[in-house]
């Protein structure tokens, strides 16, 4: 039989790829910092080629780059001139509106050799997006505008798809890939990059995205659906104060209506998270974040109604379960040290044991005492 081909033997369709990752929108660099926490895969797993079948990855990220200044900017200028291919562009931070003012800049990186002025992030997006194999928005600021796009903001901030257009497609036919989260859950971001690398390598079909351009396998479920406090909700048992281990919807948790896997995945290797560890879900992965969830610490309007409905049913279920719970917390009666076998088994050959027993006649099986 012929040995089947394995991925380790296969050359990726693209041998080397650059990831140009700019945290230079209106950002806090939190998504870059977040991926340094990732382990599934870790940043070094990708850079050092620990996973079979992938192209060699060259990461250009301001926070992690060994080079400085224009040494660091070199690949950016080269990519803009079509001299660095192929590359994936990752944008972090809200996209400001640079058109609303006379002069100056809201967000910039590098210096324009013609004018001596900073080059705005928007200019970089205009230069690079048409040449990129894929464009990824990392974090809620870049995906939908996020915190800096809050009502009353002075910069006119928006998300990348708002800026490029929701129907925008890369030269390889990919829409903007959105990985929301404030910041991104570390492994969610790295796993998405991993998927794209498989796709570029020719090993995976088009990345499955929903209509908000999120990877479906990561954002297809709600926080509530993965929450280990969901059962408190089902039993109508709600926290009225922070610090309680019960369901948090009455004190501000939006989990039932928010698309996010943090309650399943935890924050790092299953540790931490949001409502599962006592933090209300403030909807930080959502296009409506933050405005539609503020004030964060008030009960979401919808929760008043749904928690009232579940209240009476939940209380009944809870009291019935309490009874059963008491029952199953007791061992069956036949487990005892008394010199009598009461399990229901009728021994033939035990004799009388140590002589203290008051055995019934031997042979046959009689009905055991049932546990209540």
């Amino acid at each position: 039989m012929k040995t089947p081909e394995v991925i380790a033997d296969r050359q990726p369709d693209v041998k080397e790829i650059h990831i140009l990752w700019t945290p230079d929108g209106l950002s806090c660099d939190g998504d870059t910092v977040s991926i340094t926490a990732a382990t599934l895969p870790s940043i070094e797993d990708l850079i050092m080629g620990a996973i079979p079948g992938l192209p060699k990855v060259h990461l250009h990220n301001r926070v992690l780059a060994p080079t400085n200044g224009s040494d660091y900017m070199k690949p950016w200028f080269a990519a803009a001139e079509g001299k660095l291919e192929p590359f994936v562009l990752v944008v972090e931070g809200s996209i400001p509106n640079e058109e609303i003012k006379q002069e100056g800049y809201w967000a910039a990186i590098g210096t324009d050799p013609e004018t001596g002025q900073p080059i705005t992030l928007n200019t970089w997006i205009d230069r690079l997006a048409p040449k990129a194999v894929a464009v990824v928005a990392a974090g809620t600021c870049a995906t939908y505008g996020g915190i800096h796009a809050m009502e009353g903001n002075p910069t006119g901030a928006m998300g990348l798809a708002d800026y490029l257009g929701w129907d925008w497609r890369s030269k390889a036919g990919l829409p903007v890939v959105n990985v929301p989260g404030c910041p991104v859950q570390p492994d969610n971001m790295m796993e998405t990059l991993l998927y794209l690398l498989y796709q570029v390598a020719g090993l995976a079909p088009m990345i499955p995205l929903d209509d908000k351009l999120r990877p479906t396998w990561l954002f297809g479920k709600t926080v509530h659906e993965g929450c280990d406090r969901g059962s408190y909700y089902e039993q109508g048992d709600f926290a009225h104060e922070y610090g309680s281990p019960k369901c948090l919807v009455k004190i501000g948790c939006w989990g039932p209506v928010v698309n996010c896997n943090v309650t399943k995945r935890g924050w790092m290797d299953g540790i931490g998270g949001c409502p599962n560890v006592g933090g209300i879900c403030i909807g930080c992965t959502m296009p409506g974040f933050p405005d539609k969830f503020m004030p964060f610490m008030d009960e979401p309007p919808g929760a008043t109604f749904s928690s009232m409905l579940v209240g009476s049913y939940g209380k009944l279920i809870r009291s019935l379960r309490a009874i059963t719970n008491q029952t199953v917390n007791k061992e069956p009666r036949w487990r005892h040290p008394a010199p009598a076998l009461t399990t229901g088994y009728e021994p033939k050959h035990y004799g009388t044991g140590n002589g203290h027993g008051t055995h019934a006649s031997s042979g046959g099986i009689r009905t055991p005492e049932r546990a209540r």
Binding site: T36, K83, P154, G278, G279
Partner: protein, 616 residues
């Protein structure tokens, strides 16, 4: 600009060999920062420097009229590496405004979260970001002579860290490939897990609230923290001597290296870790509970403690403009006096954060006038009438210096005995015996000592964590598990929070009217450190420290990396969602203009690009 430059003594009269050099962006920091300098290669020193920031987001603008309870969720998003410091500081300010106090167990949980943040952040910055400036690849490129010497220099503490020579330490620091680089990256993950156990998520916490935390205080959560902490403590017993060896080597190998990044000792520290037995968050008692913090607040000028009273510290803060892209709120009646006197009756200045109004005014970058989004926080010294450009030295050096001078901390694992030292006791761990580290007030406030202090503060944070976890476990065992105090938001109130973000002083000032935010101004460390020339012409700390820096790099102008300047700037642990640009000049005739090293590479690639050249 020309006037300003000529009044500065550091600008030499002869300009024949002065070269414009710019680094934009400065990498391996958080936020985008560019540095524009003029370097005198004949005299091997930096003669001028400008620092600028390339981003404005407008927190103080869009927080207006929001529910004050949203403040910690929002302000956490200011920073992607120490956002939790902001959330914590905001909670402190809200606690004051709401008149509440966190229950003891809640306070220990916050303390443990913040300790984990220091342990994580200093770890990743020191060894994965700053460390690269000291790694084999970098040293070979910039100072081949130093690399050659490092390979044959025995490491004095080899038995503690396992690297026989300084050269081996440098190799272990190579990005991604170096063993110690990867080990530190992994430890930065372990400590972030510890953080998540206490505050839910890194870097924007989920379980932090005014009045306490939502963290469920089980035996398990503290055991999970404690066991990880012991692993970090074991790691510290290797890390501290490793860095001592590395940094001491630079003083030996490059005599005069103490001048790199050196500036006058002007340090600020706003204190860290509350003692729940003392802290009631009332402004009237702030001096008292400030002095009970496990890092003592203080303003240190020329090595002397000016004050360790948080009320004095608070009242001395001034926000100056000068070179920043903002309209002055004290002019044209555009700003309002929100707080005329503090709760003790002391007058509050119109340039104090409580009375600040942020009015952004985007404009072209002009190094002769306005060149940055960073404002210039200063501390008004009543004794002299000076507006002091305090720096934080990246946090640890100011914290250790202030704590050592005040000699108030004595918590078992950490003690400031009053002899200019800090004693840090790390208990026995799996393979290493108990160790006591002693940090001593250094002779200089310079790049090497800022970096050294960072390592010692990692151990300090671990020791404080050990104290706090013992206290927390004791409360849980006794059944005192309340972590949250209910509260009501008052119609009218003011509050302030003082904390140490990882890289230094952090304050949040809050004014509530009609139950909404009427004013909110956070001041993180980087505006202090990265500030531009203020309205009095005083340079910001990066500008000042770089402007005094001599050049030890062996490369000439054609292949110049600017490593000494990079070490000077990074020693401050810049965290800019704001930035530094250093710029060299007022447009005088300069012989050479170029951007370090880039041109060679660009020429090879056929790309013509000369960002610095346009500055003249």
């Amino acid at each position: 600009m020309a006037t300003l430059t000529e009044t500065r003594e550091t600008t030499p009269k002869t300009r024949g060999n002065i070269v414009e050099m710019s680094w934009d962006p400065i990498t391996r920091i958080v936020g985008s920062l560019g540095i524009y300098t003029k370097i005198d290669f004949a005299n091997r020193k930096v003669v001028e420097c400008h620092s600028t920031s390339s981003m404005f987001r407008g927190y103080s603008v869009f927080m207006l009229n929001k529910d004050p309870r949203d403040a910690h969720f929002i302000t956490s998003r200011i920073c992607g590496i120490c956002g939790d410091n902001h959330a914590t500081c905001s909670v402190y300010a809200q606690n004051m405004a709401y008149g509440i106090k966190t229950p003891p167990l809640g306070e220990w949980i916050v303390n443990l979260g913040e300790a984990a943040e220091y342990m994580f952040d200093h770890c990743i910055f020191q060894d994965n970001l700053v460390g690269v400036d000291f790694c084999e690849t970098m040293v070979k490129e910039t100072n081949p002579g130093v690399w050659e010497r490092a390979q044959r220099t025995e490491a004095p503490h080899a038995k503690d860290h396992g690297y026989r020579t300084i050269g081996q330490i440098m190799t272990a620091l190579n990005p991604f490939e170096g063993e110690f680089y990867r080990e530190s990256l992994q430890m930065s993950r372990l400590t972030r897990e510890m953080f998540c156990l206490m505050e839910g998520r890194h870097v924007h916490p989920s379980t932090l609230y005014p009045g306490g935390v939502g963290t469920v205080p089980s035996i398990q959560v503290f055991t999970d923290y404690l066991v990880r902490l012991t692993k970090y403590i074991e790691f510290m017993k290797k890390v501290v001597p490793l860095h001592d060896d590395l940094f001491d080597f630079f003083y030996q190998a490059l005599p005069g290296y103490e001048k790199v990044g050196q500036r006058r000792v002007l340090l600020g520290c706003w204190g860290s870790w509350q003692d729940p037995d003392v802290c009631d968050y009332q402004y009237e008692n702030m001096d008292n509970w400030g002095k009970a913090m496990f890092v003592t607040p203080g303003v240190v000028v020329d090595g002397k403690l000016v004050t360790n009273n948080l009320v004095d510290i608070n009242l001395g803060i001034r926000i100056l403009l000068g070179s920043s892209y903002y309209e002055d709120w004290t002019e044209n009646g555009s700003g309002e006096m929100f707080v005329r006197t503090d709760p003790l009756g002391n007058p509050v200045d119109k340039r104090h954060p409580w009375n600040q109004t942020t009015i952004p005014k985007p404009q072209k970058r002009n190094f002769d006038d306005k060149y940055t989004w960073v404002m210039s926080p200063r501390w008004f010294d009543q004794r002299t009438g000076d507006h002091l450009a305090l720096d934080t030295g990246g946090g640890p050096i100011a914290r250790l210096w202030s704590t050592a001078l005040s000699a108030l901390v004595d918590i078992g694992y950490v003690k400031a005995p009053g002899d200019g030292t800090i004693r840090i006791r790390l208990p026995k761990t799996m393979t290493k015996p108990e160790v006591e580290f002693t940090w001593r007030i250094p002779k200089w406030s310079n790049a090497i000592e800022r970096n050294r202090a960072r390592t010692y503060f990692q151990a300090y944070a671990a020791a404080v964590a050990m104290c706090c976890v013992e206290k927390a476990m004791d409360l849980v065992r006794r059944g005192e598990t309340q972590t949250f105090t209910p509260f009501k938001v008052p119609d009218e109130a003011i509050g302030c929070g003082f904390h140490e973000a990882v890289r230094g002083v952090l304050s949040h000032h809050l004014v509530i009217r009609k139950g909404r935010i009427a004013n909110y101004h956070p001041y993180p460390p980087t505006p202090w450190n990265a500030s531009p020339r203020d309205s009095y012409g005083t340079l910001g700390p990066y500008e000042d420290a770089v402007q005094n820096t001599p050049i030890f790099e062996e490369n000439g102008p054609d292949n110049f990396k600017g490593i000494d300047i990079m070490r000077a700037v990074r020693s401050f642990d810049p965290c800019l969602p704001c930035g530094v640009h250093m710029y060299i000049g007022p447009g005088k005739v300069l012989q050479v203009n170029h951007t370090p090293t880039a041109l060679l590479g660009m020429a090879k690639q056929g790309v013509t690009h000369n960002p610095a050249g346009v500055l003249k």
